[in-house]
Every structure is written in structure tokens, then in C-alpha cells.
């Protein structure tokens, strides 16, 4: 189902008009001229709009339901994907998926949150909000990558770790802490990509990596703009202000030295061209893994730690 963002309305209307004209067209020359004219206008507005998205608009794009999700990346980028389930302690959490697979000829461990794309799958994946079991599964898979000297690819897309009674009882804090620790311990390359929403502790749990990439319109934040607004502005109505103030865009985070690279999205955002988006993400990951190949494990770990220790200190 197509889903349109409020600020995309002028573009969507023009595109609807084009469809309409095409349907009625008796292939008259005038009509095809008209179509071309409208198309040009739509393209122009699209380019203009996406060239200067506000932080708040990026939040909407990053959460767009038609944006490619973990499973879309797996389908297109990974051969022989073999999902692995369970934390060996309590249960299986489908909010965080993971397994073994072959990415551009290379055996890898792939982990990431899956938000789901319809009611049924969203419930199955708990909207990508991971429980302790999911983080413990991630730890298990990262350790497996270490054991077999396989690179780890993580795809981050979550509003945040699941806030629930059982999640607290089973140690959500400990699970996230140990996941970060595992990221920082493994002696094998790790590349993380924020493909949609990077929601706070739930995101960093699988993103303390050698290289952190971010899609052009993805967001990565310590707290949701809504949550921040309701605490600091005392009202969620100020979410737009919070989104701007928190510096959550890929562009801001690259400038702050929090992420390493921005991956350009197809014009009009990933939701307009999911397959092209997945391919370009694949190209970037392949390039980064190529750069990291040949660096021995202990050096990788030392450099990874050094990177985080120096973060925020422009010395």
C-alpha cells in the first residue's frame, strides 16, 4: 500500500495527474507534452523538497513504512541466508533478526531489527522493538562471527528497545550493555548501517562498529524527538524543535564525527526506490568490508575502541 507523507503531497498530486492523463490519453501529441511538462514539474519539486528536508521531515522519511527493511536487504543482498534463532537462555525475539549468509561472495553474520510491513508481521517482529532475548541472540551471533572469523553486518532500524515489564525483569539493561561490550570485544570486522531509525540504546547495542554508515535520510538519536520534547519542553507538541536541536540527521552526525559515512538515497527517498536503495547500501558495505579485510583482529579491536574513545573530542 502506498503511503504518502504530508509534505510530499504536491508531488503526489502531480504524479496522480500524470497517471490520470495516461489513462485517458488517446495518444494525442498534446497530452504527451502535457504529461512531460507535469513530470518535469513534479521532478523539480521532488528535488527541491529533498534537497532541504528539515530534521522533522527526515524523522518522517526514516519511519516511512515503505522504506526497505531488514528482510528486503536480506532478500536482495544475501545468498544462502540461514536465519538463526534464540538466545539459548529464554526465547526467540523476532524484533531482531540474524543469521549466516553470503554477501557478495563473502560468508557473514548479519543482524538487525525488522519492523515488519503489515499488521501481522509488525506484531510478529514487535515493530522492531527488541527485547533482552533479541540482544542476547545478537551477542551470540557476534561471538559466532568472532569464532569463525566472519565479518558482522548490522542493519539498525528501531524506534528503541522494548519498554515492558518482562523486558525489565529479564534484564533489558544488562542485555544492551553486554551487546555493546560484545561489539567492542570481537576481533573481526563489523560494519553497521542505520537504514531507518536509530533509536538510542536499542540501536547502539548493535552499532558500536568499526564503521558506522547511515542512509541519507535516516535518523539516529539518543531519545525520540517526541520523548525529548515531552521532557525538556514539557509537551510532545515541540517534537519538531527537539528533532532540530538533537542533531539526529546523517549530515549533522557526520559533522560531529559520530558516524563515518553517508549513503546517498535515490531521489525522493528510499521509499520511492527500495531496490536501488538496497543495492547502493550493499555497494557501500562491500567497499567498507574490503577496506577492513586484511587488518588483523586485535588491531581492528584496538582501533574500534580508539575510535569511540576519541569521539566527541576533536583534538
Amino acid at each position: 500500500m502506498a503511503y504518502h507523507l504530508e509534505f510530499e503531497k504536491p508531488i503526489v498530486e502531480l504524479e496522480a495527474k500524470i497517471v490520470e492523463l495516461k489513462n485517458v490519453s488517446g495518444s494525442g501529441v498534446n497530452i504527451s507534452d502535457e504529461i512531460a511538462r507535469i513530470q518535469e514539474k513534479a521532478d523539480k519539486i521532488l528535488v527541491q523538497t529533498y534537497a532541504k528536508l528539515s530534521a522533522d521531515q527526515k524523522v518522517q522519511v526514516a519511519r516511512h513504512p515503505n522504506r526497505p527493511h531488514f528482510s528486503d536487504y536480506i532478500k536482495r543482498l544475501v545468498q544462502d541466508f540461514t536465519p538463526l534463532a534464540g538466545d539459548r537462555l529464554f526465547g526467540e525475539d523476532c524484533a531482531l533478526m540474524g543469521g549466516l549468509g553470503r554477501f557478495r561472495g563473502q560468508s557473514c553474520v548479519i543482524i538487525g531489527q525488522e519492523k515488519g510491513n503489515d499488521t501481522e508481521s509488525r506484531i510478529k517482529h514487535n515493530f522492531g522493538m527488541t527485547r533482552p532475548e533479541g540482544y542476547r541472540k545478537a551477542q551470540r551471533l557476534m561471538q559466532m562471527a568472532h569464532q569463525f572469523s566472519l565479518p558482522v553486518i548490522s542493519l539498525v532500524d528501531t524506534a528503541g528497545a522494548y519498554p515492558g515489564i518482562e523486558a525489565e525483569e529479564r534484564g533489558q539493561s544488562e542485555a544492551i550493555a553486554k551487546s555493546i561490550e560484545t561489539c567492542l570485544r570481537i576481533e573481526t570486522p563489523m560494519v553497521s548501517t542505520v537504514i531507518g531509525e536509530g533509536g538510542s540504546g536499542g540501536a547502539i547495542a548493535i552499532a558500536a562498529a568499526d564503521r558506522v554508515l547511515m542512509l541519507e535520510h535516516a535518523i539516529y538519536s539518543v531519545i525520540s524527538p517526541e520523548g525529548c520534547a515531552s521532557i525538556l519542553w514539557r509537551s510532545a507538541d515541540f517534537a519538531k524543535d527537539a528533532a532540530r536541536a538533537l542533531k539526529i540527521t546523517a549530515q549533522d552526525l557526520l559533522a560531529l564525527g559520530i558516524i563515518d559515512e553517508i549513503i546517498e538515497e535515490p531521489m525522493g527517498g528510499a521509499h520511492r526506490a527500495p531496490e536501488a536503495t538496497v543495492d547502493v547500501v550493499g555497494d557501500h558495505i562491500e567497499k567498507v568490508l574490503g577496506d577492513l579485510r586484511g587488518i588483523d583482529g586485535p588491531t581492528l579491536k584496538t582501533r574500534r575502541r580508539q575510535k569511540f574513545l576519541e569521539m566527541g573530542h576533536k583534538v
Binding site: 519498554p163 539518543v222 525538556l232 519542553w233 514539557r234 569511540f308 569521539m311
Partner: protein
Amino acid sequence: MSWITNFVRPKIKALITTKDVPDNLWAKCPGCEAMLHHAEMVKNQNVCQHCDHHMRLPIEERLKLLFDEGQYKLVELAKTTTDPLKFRDRKKYTDRLKDAQSATKRKDTIVVAEGTIGGKNAVIAGFDFKFMGGSMGAAVGDGLVTAARLAVGNKAAFIVIPASGGARMQEGMISLMQMPRSVIAVELVKEAKLPYIVLLTDPTTGGVSASFAMLGDVHIAEPGAQIGFAGRRVIQETIRASLPDGFQTAEYLLDHGMVDMVVHRNDLHQTFAKLLRLLMNTKKDKAA
């Protein structure tokens, strides 16, 4: 919350010039509602003598309580807190910082001290909750890394005492990055095979609990302390149900296997001394 800030702040002054602050001489215990005289409170480390309710304790008092003979040396922390995002909500972050700095007389929430506990070298990094709710920004990460390196250099045990609501939102993603940074600090200590012990005090939540605070070799919690990842309100709004009694308290975490022990404030020094002697004496005693 305002009860304790009202009470704690004038305390030092009150000891010198009692007459000036008659309003703050008595305060009501949130546990049993008994009226408590501040002199008794000070003597009793902010624990109610009627019901054992543990109220928040200033970090200096904690250091005195934990180190041998109450003797310790404060470690100077180099960096001052900056405002990397030029953050402004209803108020500028720099103004919030200034207010917190003048109220607490420190640069940021974190305090690092060294000394001995049970005769063993120890470095403590503690939080001052009164400084912006003990929130974790770059200064906290820096302080923890400094403290961890000092512990490794001194062959000392590393003890952290969080009292924090979590990340400092005003530092945005830089505050989130203190989670991996603090984990690395802990790794340095663990790799040196030195003990890392966390004393979980009220409150330890959010990004603080989901990083260094849950990675201790031993977790000690104070009675009644609130410890957890997500805030109570967020959970309630998500699940649309009420929370169980004692949810996210120290005792609840003990029941669920997340802490090793819940220890009364009066017994903390002894507990730490015993643990450090057990963890740091590797040779067999001669005497039977």
C-alpha cells in the same frame, strides 16, 4: 524529589549556623512519614532510623563512608563540559550547566577519588544526582575513562556509584556515545584483571543502567533504589497496564537475578572491604 534537595542543600550551612535555617531542621521520611531531625539524619547517613528508608546521599558522604577512615584524594578531571550541539530547549544548555555548576560547585556530575578500602587500593567514580539528574554526557565518559586508567595504573579496584536518570539529552548523540565509551573504560579494568564493582544507588536508569552499570563483576544495590532501563511512565504508556508492586526496585532486581546483593548503607564499607580482600588476595593465608 524536592524534599531531598531542600533538605540536603542547606545541610552544610545548617551545621554551622543552625539558627538561620529553622525550616529545614525537620523533614518527613518518605517511607514512614516520621518527622526526622536533620542532625540525626546526618549521623545516620540519610537513612531513616524508624523504617530504614534510604534517602539519597551526597557523593562526598558516600566517599567518606566507603574509603578507609573516610580518607580519600579527589582526582582532578581535566576537561570542562562544553555545548557541542549549541543545544537549547526552553533554556540554553549552557545556562543549565552554569546553574548546576554554581549549585553544586563542580564542573559536572562525575566525581573521581582514590584511596583504600579494606586496605586495598580503590578508585571510585561517583555521580552527583543534583548535577542535572546525574545525566551522562561527555564529561561522564571522560571521567570514567580517567578513573579506569587510574585504577589500572594503581592496580586498584574500580568502583562506580551511578545515581543517574540516564543520558544527557542536551548532548544528543554525543551522550549516547558515552555508552560504548564507558564500556571501554570497564574493559580496561577487566583486562587488567582488577575488580569492577558497581554500587547501584537511586536512581540508575536509561543509558547508564544499559552500559557500564550492568557490567560489574559484582553488583551491589542500595535498599529501595530504582534501577531499570525504561522509565515507568514510558512502560505504562506502552503496555497500557499498571506495574507490579516494587517494580524496578533493588529488591526486585535481586529477585530477577540482576544484582548480587542489596546492602544497608551501614554495612557498605564492610561489604566492599570484604569483597576487595577476597578478590585481590590471591595468595593463601598462612594462618588457619
